[in-house]
Amino acid sequence: MAEKEYTLYPNPITPNSAILFDEELCNGCNRCIDFCRTDVLMPNPERGKPPIVAYPDECWFGGCCAGACPHHAILMVHPMNQRAVWRRKETGNLYRVCVENELEENKRPPIVE
């Protein structure tokens, strides 16, 4: 049996992830980098790839990067302890933000986009 090699890592940073990228949608334009208020994002050494999320622990969860992305390639995710809870009045069922469920996406835009 081939021996699997194991690597020593620092413990995972918390929050683990502040934002997620869709590699298909992202063209590596790096526009989001210059919208981040705390300079969390760094250009990827590989051109055309999504930026590196360098400092997820310094994310303010303001969503400026996601809002600025022309390709909708960024999904901000609240850390697990920040995923607010709601109940559907009619059924009493409980739902959480950033967790997939059976509900339909509510696409009604805010007052001004």
């Binding site: 590196i52 303001g62 109940r87």
Partner: protein, 666 residues
């Protein structure tokens, strides 16, 4: 598919992406230098540039979104001069003086009056540069909060009409930054200014400010600014008591995490007097206890008027002076008159029953509670979840759009209120935000505190140095924009009569050595551990109750940190360099907070300041501002009277002073 494949964990040890040069010095000369490019800084830049000044603005973030109001604003305060307002600027002053929550007798009255006089005018100016402020598409035609003649929409108090709901408030910062760019202002982004430069390098009271030194968080390059007038709009220190990135990243505080107090530290270092440094409180949940801003069920502020129900759907009524309010009364919380005045400025508006904690304990209402959005009238629901949530603070993407993505529908869903201890958190103390458990040692600076002492031109006690926005003790968006423009008009007026005084190279060299010291080390104490360590000193030694011995204990502790851990701070790249320089300012601001607290030898109910060792309160001769600055290398405290801005050499009325100093003609 959205993944975290490009998180740093998967790129161990990659090369720093920007060219780094710690030796390079960029030199910039300008008429007006603005440190901090948030709402106040951008407004200042626009006002000065429109009048012909050569302007430079420096910010730790990008102007398009930086600052405490950078992500959005849902309502515009103190628009006393709008056509529907029933409150005059003079009346509003009375309101501020009566309300401890907004500063009470320690209100910087000149700043509030400037705001009241210019708020509405400034809003119309914003509209001219493209900000949607009105209900332009008649979505709310006929609603009680809308004036159908002007399309303006009011918030909270539909009688007095001093607070205006902004239809496109989330676009405020992009609108401002576009105008800044259009006017040719030089913007220096991702750059931290950390020390003021003074004539001949002499600091202390009486010195003259002639610029600032800064460095980039990306390239590490140094920037030396030489200016005729300098305006500090860098917010206020927040984080002296709280540092916790573990649970919610940089969201562990109410305020913008870039508010780390370098403005206050550099002003004092240069010799300017600061005041209200001892004023702090627990506004709402902090540290790891917070929930996303405005992103949980609430009854206050942005959420005002939303019906709250208990676990069984039982409605918890709003009351005023013990009387249950029906729907039509909630939005007529008028002041002066029957209302408590909360609606004049948002804040605490009406009340759920004052004895709610007892009613939870007795079982009359069952936890958890919910914000029952579906039971609201459609227009009130849409304006709450759509305009207020959607434009205010971090609610556009992180709450409105993200919650919607996962199916949240205000027509059908009830958002849960954080489950909290009844006694401590469902009473006034946790207001205006039900944001999670409140813990007294996790404190923040009060909304209107930690500011410079300044005159009616918004000049500090040093020539060449002005303040605006939070740095002038103003916590509102309308206040930031009005004081920014006002300070800039005066700063430019003074600059026109001044020659550029060259910087002192010895001073530049001295500050460069301080700034770059952590780059000489790549092990030791990291910035995160340092910030958390300093916060622990403040939690213990400057918490809810103060005494001379405990405050001195804190100062001695910081002395030990200065000699110990501070010498071991390391910065392995320009980003860490910026954060370690924030450590320097944090320790200085914390020391000033302890020192100013020691100088106030009485308790102050107005500023929630409690002394164990002095029985008196701040009445009579104790009613004064404590000031602090650095003189001969030491913190030096003093005092000035409250309402100093209405005493000689100033006139006795707000109006006379305003007319004399507003510099509108220049």
């Amino acid at each position: 598919m959205y993944t975290n494949k490009t998180d740093i964990q998967n790129y161990p040890g990659i090369k720093w992406p920007y060219p780094v040069d710690y030796e390079k010095i960029n030199r910039i000369s300008c008429d007006v230098l603005i440190l901090g490019g948030g709402l106040a800084g951008c407004a200042a830049a626009i006002a000065a540039a429109r009048r012909g000044a050569k302007v430079a603005v420096v910010d730790k973030g990008p102007l398009v979104r930086s600052g405490s109001g950078g992500t959005g604003i849902d309502h515009w305060h103190d628009a006393c001069l709008n056509p529907k307002s029933k409150i005059s600027p003079e009346q509003l002053m009375e309101f501020y003086f009566q309300n401890p929550y907004w500063g009470g007798k320690y209100t910087m009255g000149h700043m509030r009056y400037i705001q009241a006089m210019e708020s509405y005018k400034a809003l119309l100016e914003l509209e001219k540069i493209g900000l949607p402020i009105r209900d332009f598409d008649d979505e709310f035609e006929g609603s009680a909060f809308r004036d159908d003649t002007t399309g303006l929409m009011y918030a909270y108090d539909y009688e007095n009409c001093t607070v205006i709901r902004l239809k496109g408030g989330a676009l405020l910062k992009p609108t401002l930054s576009a105008e800044v760019e259009r006017l040719g202002v030089q913007a220096y982004e991702y750059i931290m200014a950390s020390h003021l430069l003074t004539e001949d390098g002499k600091t202390g009271p009486g010195s003259r400010v002639i610029g600032a030194i800064a460095f980039s968080g990306r390239t590490g390059e140094c920037y030396v600014f030489n200016a005729k007038s300098t305006i500090i709009c860098s917010g206020m220190p927040q984080g002296e008591w709280i540092f916790s990135t573990e649970f919610n990243g940089a969201s562990s505080k109410f305020w913008d995490p870039n508010n780390t107090g370098e403005g206050q530290a550099m002003m004092a270092e240069a010799g300017a007097e600061l005041t209200l440094m001892e004023s702090n409180y627990t506004i709402c949940a902090n540290g790891g206890m917070r929930w996303p801003m405005y992103g949980t069920g609430d009854s206050n502020n942005t959420w005002y008027g939303c019906p709250i129900v208990d676990a069984n759907g039982k409605r918890i009524p709003y009351t005023q002076n013990g009387k249950v309010m029906d729907w039509s009364e909630i939005y007529k919380n008028t002041w002066p008159g029957t209302g408590d005045g909360g609606s004049v400025t948002s804040g605490s508006l009406g009340e759920l029953p004052g004895d709610l904690p007892e009613k939870i304990m007795s079982g009359e209402y069952k936890l958890p509670f919910y914000a029952d959005l579906p039971s609201m009238p459609p227009d009130e629901r849409r304006v709450l979840w759509g305009l207020m949530i959607g434009n205010e603070g971090k609610t556009n993407y992180p709450v409105y759009k993200l919650y919607g993505k996962y199916g949240f529908d205000p027509d059908k869903d009830m958002l849960q209120v954080p489950v909290m201890a009844p006694k401590s958190n469902f009473n006034k103390r946790a207001k205006p935000y039900w944001n999670g458990e409140v813990y007294e040692p996790w404190r923040e600076c009060q909304k209107c505190s930690n500011c410079a002492v300044y005159d009616w031109t918004m000049k500090t006690t040093l020539d060449g140095l002005y303040v605006a926005g939070l740095t002038a003790g103003n916590n509102f968006a309308s206040g930031a924009i009005t004081t920014g423009a006002y300070a800039a008009r005066n700063a430019w007026k003074a600059a026109k009569q001044t020659e550029l005084i060259p910087v002192n190279e010895d001073q530049v060299q001295k500050y460069r050595e301080q700034i770059y010291a952590p780059t000489k080390r790549d092990y030791g104490i990291g910035w995160k551990e340092f910030k958390a360590g300093c916060a622990r000193v403040m939690q213990g030694n400057c918490g809810e109750y103060k005494s001379d011995e405990v405050l001195q204990n804190g100062l001695d502790w910081f002395k030990s940190i200065r000699e110990g851990e501070m010498q071991q701070l390391y910065a392995r790249n320009p980003h860490e360099l910026m954060r370690t320089n924030e450590c320097y300012t944090q320790i200085m601001v914390s020391e000033m907070t302890l020192t100013a607290s020691m100088a106030r030898k009485c308790s102050s109910p107005t500023m929630n300041f409690k002394r164990l060792d002095y029985p008196g309160t701040d009445e009579g001769e104790n009613e004064k501002y404590i000031t602090i600055t650095v003189k001969d290398g030491k913190y030096t405290t003093g005092e000035i009277p409250v309402k100093y801005y209405l005493q000689a050499p100033y006139a006795q009325s707000f109006k006379e002073n305003y007319d004399k100093y507003c510099a509108l003609e220049d």
